[in-house]
């Protein structure tokens, strides 16, 4: 038997089971908490900081995707301050690398673009960092353009947790951080990649894409295949 907790999000009374996160319960109740590293079906890492919420009684903000619910909790998911912070985080994601929507394969199919639109980011105050980064098109079917990577690491997690290949991982640190295949060799030379394409499917931006697609023809179908796989895994007791 699971314990049910009742608490409040943005003044709305909600209920959830013990072990659920604030993000999950919010989603169930139609409260939209933004997030880019969060993806149902893979483990959360609380890194994009878009889902930060205020919890009454705590001086610190908390990542909704990783905060377990508790009885009587009073969560503020939307406030002027949070909106400003979320706008700045989104802006930071844009200025960190070289996002040019007009020539991006994911134009109009991009979660980062949607995020900026939803939060009302109309222009950038922060200077662009404009680093020189690589494109790896050595794989037969797919390519990665690091210019568009926001390091949500969905690809790393889906490859490890769902496909079980662990082809993707992370190298270097700070602004130099990059996702990499097989200890930093070109993707096409990877011996562990199964070419399943899950990484491409979960990528929120145009960083990972199928070859042979033109601008704005992003084929991201947004099929929610991970929740389905999770249910199958649970049913089989995996």
């Amino acid at each position: 038997m699971t314990t049910v907790f009742t608490f409040r999000i943005d003044g709305k009374d909600v209920a959830g089971s013990e072990g659920q996160t604030v993000m999950e319960v919010a989603e169930e109740n139609g409260i939209d908490i933004p997030g880019l590293c969060h993806l149902e079906g893979i483990h959360d890492r609380g890194a994009c900081r878009l889902c930060m919420v205020e919890i009454a009684g705590s001086p610190k903000l908390a990542a909704a995707c990783m905060t377990k619910i508790a009885e009587g909790m009073d969560v503020t998911a939307h406030s002027d301050v949070l909106l400003e912070y979320r706008r700045t985080v989104t802006e930071m994601m844009f200025v960190e690398r070289n996002h040019v929507c007009a020539v991006c394969v994911a134009n109009n199919h991009c979660e980062l673009q949607d995020m900026a639109e939803g939060l009302g980011v109309t222009h950038f105050d922060l200077p662009r960092i404009s680093p020189k980064v690589d494109i790896d098109a050595s794989h037969r079917l797919f390519a990665i353009d690091h210019n568009r990577c926001i390091l949500c690491l969905r690809c790393v997690r889906v490859c490890d947790e769902i496909e079980g290949a662990h082809t993707w991982d992370v190298m270097h640190r700070g602004l130099e951080t990059r996702v990499q295949t097989d200890m930093g060799i070109p993707w096409g030379e990877s011996t562990t990649c199964t070419s399943c394409g899950k990484c491409v499917q979960v990528c929120p931006t145009g960083a990972l894409f199928e070859k042979g697609r033109a601008v704005a023809r992003g084929s991201k179908t947004k099929r929610p295949f991970l929740p389905w796989m999770k249910v199958v895994a649970e049913e089989r007791g995996l």
């Binding site: 890492r45 609380g46 890194a47 900081r49 922060l126 951080t177």
Partner: protein
């Protein structure tokens, strides 16, 4: 070739000189063989002293390698134990003089005053520093080592040990000052059959070298503290996570673990009781963020050293998801003495909620660069002027930076402030691990803020967006200010971003990164304005670029 074998070799060479000079000692010369004196050829001095004393036929004289004597600026240091006479900046030519002084030592000699640098200190965590041979277990035991552990194992319950630590008022010496007794109790009560104790020796703050000196000078004390902690929280395995940049500390620690295992102070059935505990060393690969406890745990587990959101705290879910006690080197180093001398004694030192002593590393524009341990509540002025000997060349004091890259700059107006966890936070700084960087009027505070931001930018692990991108953005604005190319709007942007990064970052690195900016803005806003409005650097440090001509 790496430095590691060289440090290990020193251990063996020293053993041969000791054999020559063993016996009842009438006079003893302590030679500081901690990293800074070693880098000034202190080991060579030890060997020469040994040879020279032998040539002079002094068979009742001992030349002993000891840990840090504290006055690192004046190394290599040699102290005559009986008279307290200190020889500084010792060079090979000075050896004969020291042997002459050793010859003159009489049994009736008493230690003379060594001046305020030594006299004003209160030594708890560093009580054996400069007294015991860091590579000799026998010497540690001869100085009261393992007495506390013996008492704990034979006469106390784990709850009594925890009570003692709670009553002593000891708080985490890694910087945040979390009550140690409470942490121990949490781990002890946490569910789980397997528990771990981790010693955080990943000291990385610029200008801080307390943990290094403790490990180099008295490694057994840290091991004893860890073993007592393990008994108190029911742990059976421990790790020391030490940065690889400390080869001498690692070599001495490994030697100490081997010796303690052989003597039955580590391993199965410690001191003929049923209690078992063993320690392994893990080396950090140069990432500052691995000093953060969740990143440290990830690193010990063999994963990428990045932090994760807390809760769950390591006390509940730490190493391999087991309850884990993580304390700093200095915290563990205090434990044996607290149990030997009693909680009341320890709680009697200090100020308010900050009990006991704190080890500080004095660095920067200060005469006596070195390592000191002072009671909490001592004023900054006493530390800087009495113990530290004041500013080099008698220049005016400008600020002292505490708490590393998460700390702040304290200006002259707060010189008479007592040092404690609370008072430092009140003035916008942070205790941190204990680095004190003293600055005079030749330092530009904007440049100082830029330096620390550059550090954070470089050390950001890259996991969360506010820290990964934000620290670089802050640094870029500061860089513009120091070039005289910023506007007042940029300054407003700097403050806005700093507040956001402080609140939105995942771990202490990002949350603390804007602190140097906040504190320099709080006390030295005029310097920022001078760079922006008047386009001059008052300290003459920054190179202001010529104004662009508007076409």
């Amino acid at each position: 070739m790496s430095e590691m074998p060289a440090a290990a070799r020193a251990v063996r060479r020293r053993a041969t000189t000791e054999e020559v000079h063993e016996g009842p000692a009438r006079a003893t010369a302590y030679v500081c063989e901690a990293a800074s004196c070693m880098s000034a050829q202190a080991h060579d001095i030890t060997l020469r002293l040994g040879e020279s004393a032998a040539r002079a036929g002094l068979s009742d004289v001992m030349v002993k390698r000891v840990g840090c004597l504290g006055l690192c600026a004046a190394g290599p240091l040699v102290e005559i134990a009986e008279t307290g006479r200190l020889f500084d900046h010792v060079r090979p030519d000075d050896v004969e003089g020291i042997v002459g002084a050793l010859r003159k030592v009489k049994p009736t000699d008493t230690r003379a005053s060594q001046g305020p640098f030594f006299e004003k200190q209160v030594r708890v965590a560093t009580e054996n520093m400069g007294r015991v041979d860091p590579e000799s277990l026998d010497d540690y035991v001869a100085h009261g080592g393992y007495e506390a552990l013996r008492t704990v194992l034979s006469e106390m319950t784990s709850a009594e040990v925890r009570d003692q630590i709670t009553q002593s008022g000891l708080r985490g010496r890694g910087g945040a000052g979390f009550p140690t007794g409470l942490k121990w109790t949490t781990v002890a009560k946490a569910q789980g059959s397997q528990k771990y104790v981790i010693c955080n020796a990943d000291e990385g703050d610029p200008g801080a070298f307390m943990d290094r000196s403790v490990l180099e000078s008295d490694p057994y004390r840290v091991l004893e503290g860890m073993t007592i902690a393990a008994f108190a929280v029911h742990a059976t395995e421990g790790y020391v996570y030490c940065r690889a940049e400390y080869p001498l500390a690692v070599a001495r620690l490994r030697n100490a673990i081997r010796m303690a295992q052989r003597a039955g102070w580590l391993g199965t059935g410690i001191a003929d009781t049923s209690f078992s505990f063993d320690v392994q060393v893990r080396l950090g690969a140069g990432a500052f963020v691995c000093g953060e406890e969740t990143a440290l745990i990830a690193s010990v587990e063999g994963r990428r050293g990045t932090p994760r959101p807390r809760p769950p705290y390591p006390a509940m879910q730490g190493l391999w998801d087991c309850p884990t006690l993580i304390n700093n080197v200095e915290t563990f180093a205090n434990v044996p003495t607290i149990l030997r001398k009693g909680a009341e004694w320890y709680a009697g030192i200090g100020l308010g909620k900050s009990k006991g002593t704190k080890v500080f590393a004095l660095a920067g524009r200060i005469v006596n660069t070195g390592l000191v341990e002072v009671p909490m509540g001592m004023t900054l002025r006493e530390v800087v002027y009495d113990i530290g000997g004041g500013i080099i060349d008698g220049r005016p004091f400008k600020a002292v930076q505490t708490g590393g890259p998460s700390g702040g700059c304290i200006p002259a107006e707060h010189l008479d402030m007592p040092l404690s966890y609370e008072s430092l936070i009140e003035v916008g700084s942070f205790m941190g691990s204990g680095g004190l960087i003293v600055m005079d009027d030749t330092s530009c505070m904007v440049d100082v803020a830029k330096y620390f931001q550059d550090f954070c930018r470089d050390e950001s692990c890259g996991k969360c967006v506010p820290c990964r991108v934000g620290t670089t953005q802050l640094w870029m604005i500061l860089d513009q200010i120091t070039r005289g190319r910023a506007t007042l709007d940029d300054l407003a942007q700097l403050e806005r971003l700093a507040r956001m990064i402080q609140r939105m970052s995942l771990c202490g690195l990002g949350q603390g990164a804007p602190n140097p900016i906040f504190s320099t803005l709080r006390y030295f806003r005029d310097e920022y304005l001078a760079h922006i409005v008047d386009r001059v650097c008052p300290a003459g440090v920054c190179t202001i670029e010529p104004a662009e001509v508007m076409a």
